[in-house]
């Protein structure tokens, strides 16, 4: 799967995108956010409080319950501030 990071999430993780195999046991967006928190310093900080984050799956806003597949594009970012 392709993971994208934007705004302070990008800065904290230290990457704008990466490609990853769907981790074992991860079936939803909420599972993935929890798994990300265990990947190391930048990830731990960015994903320490998932309530501060928003996410999109295949470019549609998604919720923690949204199911994931290996071919998905998943983006993590702060709440949106357009306009």
């Amino acid at each position: 799967m392709k993971l994208l990071y934007f705004a302070w999430v990008r800065e904290t993780v230290g990457l704008d995108e990466e490609t990853l195999s769907l981790p074992p046991g991860v079936t939803t967006l909420g599972d993935l956010a929890l798994w990300q928190a265990g990947r190391g310093a930048g990830y731990a900080e960015a994903f320490s409080d998932p309530r501060r984050l928003r996410a999109a799956v295949n470019q549609d806003l998604a919720t923690p319950e949204t199911p994931l597949t290996a071919s998905d594009e998943v983006a993590f970012f702060p709440p949106l501030t357009g306009g």
């Binding site: 934007f6 705004a7 709440p79 501030t81 306009g83």
Partner: protein
Amino acid sequence: MAVHVQSADFDSAAEIARFERQAALKGAGAVASFCGLVRGREGEDGPLIGAMTLEHYPGMTERALAAIEAEALARWPLTDSLIIHRFGRLEPGARIVLVCTASSHREAAFAACAFLMDWLKTKAPFWKKEETAEGPRWVDAKAEDDARAAAWNEASAPRNPD
């Protein structure tokens, strides 16, 4: 109906004039527009802002703006609409966004223009980073903007435009 996501500046007067000509051809009697600018200061006594950088999610941004535009068209009898949203580094006074709506009567044009801006604030994947004397900082989403966007789900479209 058009959505443009670009780093380049736009000429509001020329865009509105072109939009008015197209609207008139489609029989519209009302055009409303809104242009958002980069503020030089956050709040009345907040820090001075040197510049603002808008980051966006290429691909999703265009999809999200088109979906927001489609929602406005479903709610009001618009003959036309236009959204131009910039990204990149913008200095105080720079134009960020232009929204135009056209309808037979003013009520729908005004309401749809306000609706588009309220939904853009909370449903379009943009993030703003301000440069201030105290250093750069990401602008937090405002609860007030969420409330304004949600309020449209309780409001109904006009039934008797005048």
